[in-house]
């Protein structure tokens, strides 16, 4: 193997890893605040570019009706003034979509907001009632498991909907930037890298520096404490899902020209992001991001040397990492 190939593989690994990293960040965020392992993040990610492609073709995507339906349920679940957000948001979304048919810039925005709205509505309709129903402290493990199974159920349903809305094949929206920056790296790839680093930094600052970010994390640890700080846990969860939706949608839109978007593409991305998130112990943003890049690099090299066994090797290599993490984890036994 010569230097060129090594360089190309490294570049490829970083590019892939950064994608996993973006999703891993979103998953860590959601888990930290809500204890939900957001399995359907891959579907949310794919909904954005696919909706965008539909809008560009002048059609209204099925995801719009899904979002509005969930928004209606959300409004039903809220009382009084709380209904304003889903209703106004839904109406705004519909209007935006009607305006955005054929206008690429508006379509981009519309696809983005659609996924954010869908993310929040998903939390409000499916996860929040579950969390409210489970008494604090009792059966924590079971509750995380139940939340996980709920996430799996939504993944199945959203993937099925993706197939109905967008068909079985892939779509490739035009990249925002054309051409190659250097051998092996397109300008669109540069854009993805820049966006990834930026969002990693932004999340870090948000949770370490801003009061709201800290309070958000506190909501995960201690609901009463968070309530005393003026944050309702429901709100914290919705904010987390909104941020996760935003990140998923943006990375989906930026990536789609590179990887081709399809309803089935999300799950494996999400799974590998989950792997990376676990490497970060589901708590640390920088470690999760680094873990993701590591997974990407490893994948790139195994696909060069033993492509048939790539997935097996990637997942098996997790095991030593898990051991290390597990040994490091504090506490005798929980």
């Amino acid at each position: 193997m010569d230097a060129t190939i090594l360089g190309l593989l490294l570049l490829d690994g970083v590019q892939n890893g950064v994608v996993y990293g973006l999703l891993a960040l979103a998953m860590v965020l959601v888990f930290a605040v809500t204890r939900v392992i957001l399995v359907p993040i891959g579907e949310l990610m794919m909904f954005a570019p696919l909706s965008f492609v539909w809008l560009q073709g002048g059609k209204l995507p099925g995801t719009l009706w899904l979002a509005l339906a969930l928004g209606a349920l959300w409004a039903l679940l809220e009382r009084g003034r709380g209904r304003g957000l889903p209703l106004v948001g839904g109406a705004g979304l519909l209007l935006l979509f009607l305006l955005a048919r054929g206008s690429p810039a508006l379509a981009y925005l519309a696809a983005l907001l659609l996924v954010v709205y869908l993310g929040v509505a998903t939390y409000r309709v499916f996860f929040q009632p579950m969390r409210a129903a489970s008494p604090e402290g009792e059966h924590r493990g079971a509750t995380v498991l139940a939340l996980l199974i709920m996430a799996v159920g939504l993944h199945v349903a959203y993937q099925g909907l993706g197939l109905v809305f967008f068909g079985p094949e892939q779509y490739r929206p035009d990249p925002l930037l054309q051409g190659e920056a250097t051998v092996g790296l397109t300008w669109q790839g540069v854009l993805v890298l820049a966006f990834a680093l930026l969002s990693a930094a932004a999340l870090y600052l948000f949770f370490r520096r801003s009061l709201f970010g800290k309070a958000l994390l506190a909501a995960a640890e201690n609901r009463l404490g968070a309530r005393l700080c003026g944050i309702r846990p429901e709100e914290a969860g919705m904010v987390a899902f909104a941020i996760a939706g935003l990140m998923a949608a943006l990375s989906g839109l930026l990536l789609a020209p590179l990887i081709n978007a399809a309803y089935f593409m999300g799950f494996m991305l999400g799974l590998k992001a989950f792997v990376a998130a676990i490497l970060g112990g589901l708590v640390s943003y920088p470690v999760a991001f680094l873990g993701a890049v590591l997974v990407g690099l490893f994948e790139s090299f195994t696909s060069f040397y033993a492509s048939a066994y790539k997935e097996a090797l990637v997942f098996l290599l997790l095991v030593p990492a898990l051991f290390y993490q597990s040994l490091r984890a504090k506490g005798v036994e929980e």
């Binding site: 493990g141 139940a146 349903a157 676990i278 048939a308 997935e311 597990s326 036994e333 929980e334």
Partner: protein, 584 residues
């Protein structure tokens, strides 16, 4: 015998014989139900989540396929090899993974699952690759070929019924209680002699074996194997079934298996009728049904239908208690001794050179203001924390650094600051947990139901202990129905049932009403008179001073005074420590 009613499952093929397709579904139900049962052991009892049950099925399915289709051996040899391989496999994976904590275990099972799937798909020479292995022979039993769904269903359901009985035995045994306790709180379980890693590993093996059995059934029912039925998606589907039905109960996982096996087909019938056209709507509806179940029954469907009753036995024990173990030996002899204990957390020295001795038949109190290091000392004595320095002796034997499950059988029992009772179990079972170290039945005996006699005696022992603390009337209630005070008494009953003679009580008076405290004091005094040695950690001065023979006072990690209650109360250092605290 009500338990044998499960064999009435074998009537189902006759009932369903007019509907041939339901016979097929019945077979798939039996296979799915076996896998769901394996998840009952693993998740419902053991609190572990596995995303690799389909991989275990696959190991056994491929083993029997290779042996029968390639080497033309008997399927029963395939069964033996399949089960052997699955368990061996589970052993390797288990040794590597059951010690993993939290999310690491489920994630590592995902890793194994994906890796095995890829191997099955790519070792073309051995496994036939993604295309699979064809032409497996049908099973035959006593010369009768099981080549129709009708006949095959009997085998599947028979094995299922056996599985259910075996796991009911497991649930109503020392091992089942220990697993449930491990799931709720490993430290409590370990304090009664349960070795967490070993027991988890055994549960993992058992679950792997059951899944392997299901894989064998699957292979010879389809008579064809390829990797897709043993994929991560399949594993997730089984977990979904179990959790949706209620993974904590046997009827729950069976219900889940039945519901989701049928659901796929009912949706195929129903959706075209509802929507008026063919389409790809089954998976959507499947996902939404699951979401609905979880929203309205987060514990699963069965607990919703059956109410939140404990799943244990419903009758009081009749048998003879285990041989009593009254404390013996000379009163006043040192039973538990600590010399120069030290423990630091990072830079903070929590316990610094503490020595103390507990003598037989006395009540010794360890007191001190908040943050004095009492609880840490307590944890060092019981093995919950390893000390950085110093030694601990129990009956003259060094136990420094031993884990709690090794210390308990030597005769030391403890309670917790917050009572650790397990709501899935009855009060009686909670107490019977303590007999774990006094009973012997292992997995084989328990699964075969050969432990009943011992089990009756264990329960009788627990019942005796409950009677002693006055809880016998609540023996069959759910443990979380008890008041805080009753939970304290339950913890005491556990200690009595465990046969330990050195009793370490962490704040036994906390949360008790005045009357309850008086009862508690009376009980402790009586125990001490019988020769039990009691160490109490508390800061409730009234309780301690009226009860203790001697008092050890700690402050800032060090022992500052020791003596009778009167001596200690007069000690200026003690007054300063407590006054200081009150002034702060």
């Amino acid at each position: 015998m009500r338990r044998y009613l499960w064999f009435s499952l074998l009537l189902l093929p006759f009932l369903l014989s007019p509907f041939p397709f339901y016979l097929t579904l019945l077979n798939f139900f039996a296979i799915a139900a076996l896998v769901a049962l394996s998840l009952y052991v693993l998740t419902g009892l053991g609190g572990m989540t596995s995303f690799a049950q389909a991989a275990f099925m696959g190991v056994s399915a491929y083993a029997t396929a290779l042996l029968t289709a390639r080497a033309s051996l008997s399927p029963w040899a395939g069964l033996a090899l399949g089960l052997g391989l699955t368990v061996a496999f589970a052993l390797v994976l288990g040794l590597l993974t059951v010690r993993l904590k939290g999310h690491f275990l489920p994630l590592s099972t995902i890793a194994w699952q994906v890796a095995l799937y890829i191997l099955a798909g790519n070792l073309v020479g051995l496994t036939g690759g993604h295309t699979g292995l064809t032409d497996l022979p049908p099973l035959s039993l006593f010369g009768l070929p099981l080549d129709t769904p009708f006949r095959y269903a009997f085998l599947g359901l028979f094995l299922l019924a056996l599985g259910v009985l075996a796991l009911k035995n497991l649930r109503e045994s020392r091992l089942g209680r220990a697993l449930l306790a491990l799931r709720g709180d490993a430290l409590t379980a370990a304090s009664f002699g349960v070795d967490p890693a070993a027991l988890r590993l055994k549960a993992f093996l058992l679950a792997g074996g059951i899944a392997g059995l299901a894989g064998f059934l699957y292979a010879h029912f389809l008579r064809f194997v390829n990797p897709t039925p043993f994929s991560l998606e399949a594993s997730i589907k089984y977990l979904v079934m179990a959790v949706a039905g209620g993974v904590g109960t046997i009827p729950g996982v069976l219900l889940g298996a039945a519901l989701f096996t049928g659901l796929e087909d009912w949706l195929k019938d129903l959706l075209p009728l509802l929507l008026g056209r063919q389409g790809n709507y089954e998976t959507i509806a499947y996902g939404l049904v699951l979401a609905g179940i979880l929203l309205f029954a987060p514990q699963g469907l069965w607990p919703l239908l059956a109410g939140r009753r404990p799943s244990g036995r419903k009758a009081l024990p009749q048998g003879e208690p285990l041989p009593p173990r009254p404390p013996s030996g000379r009163r006043g002899e040192v039973v538990l001794e600590a010399r120069g204990l030290r423990k630091a957390f990072g830079g903070l020295i929590a316990v610094n050179g503490v020595s103390l001795a507990l003598r037989r038949g006395e009540i010794l109190a360890l007191i001190g203001p908040n943050g004095a290091g009492k609880s840490t000392t307590f944890n060092l004595l019981t093995g919950a924390l390893p000390p950085d320095g110093g030694e601990v002796f129990l009956f003259g034997k060094e136990i420094t650094g031993l884990p709690p499950h090794r210390i308990h059988p030597l005769g030391l029992g403890r309670t917790f600051q917050h009572p650790h009772v397990f709501p899935e179990m009855t009060v009686l079972e909670n107490a019977a947990l303590a007999t774990y170290a006094r009973t012997r039945a292992g997995f084989v005996r328990v699964l075969l139901g050969l432990h009943r006699k011992e089990e009756e005696r264990a329960l009788a022992t627990a019942y005796e202990a409950l009677r002693r603390v006055g809880l016998e009337g609540l023996a069959l209630e759910r443990a979380d129905r008890l008041t805080a005070g009753q939970q304290r008494l339950l913890e005491l009953a556990r200690l009595l049932a465990s046969g330990a003679e050195v009793l370490l009580l962490d704040e036994p008076g906390a949360g008790l009403r005045a009357g309850e405290k008086r009862e508690l004091a009376k009980l402790l005094l009586a125990l001490a008179r019988e020769g039990y040695s009691v160490l109490i950690v508390d800061h409730d001065m009234d309780l301690v001073m009226g009860l203790a023979d001697r008092v050890v006072v700690m402050n800032y990690g060090e022992k500052i005074a020791e003596g009778t209650p009167e001596e200690v109360q007069k000690n200026p250092l003690v007054r300063a420590a407590y006054l200081g605290e009150e002034a702060a």
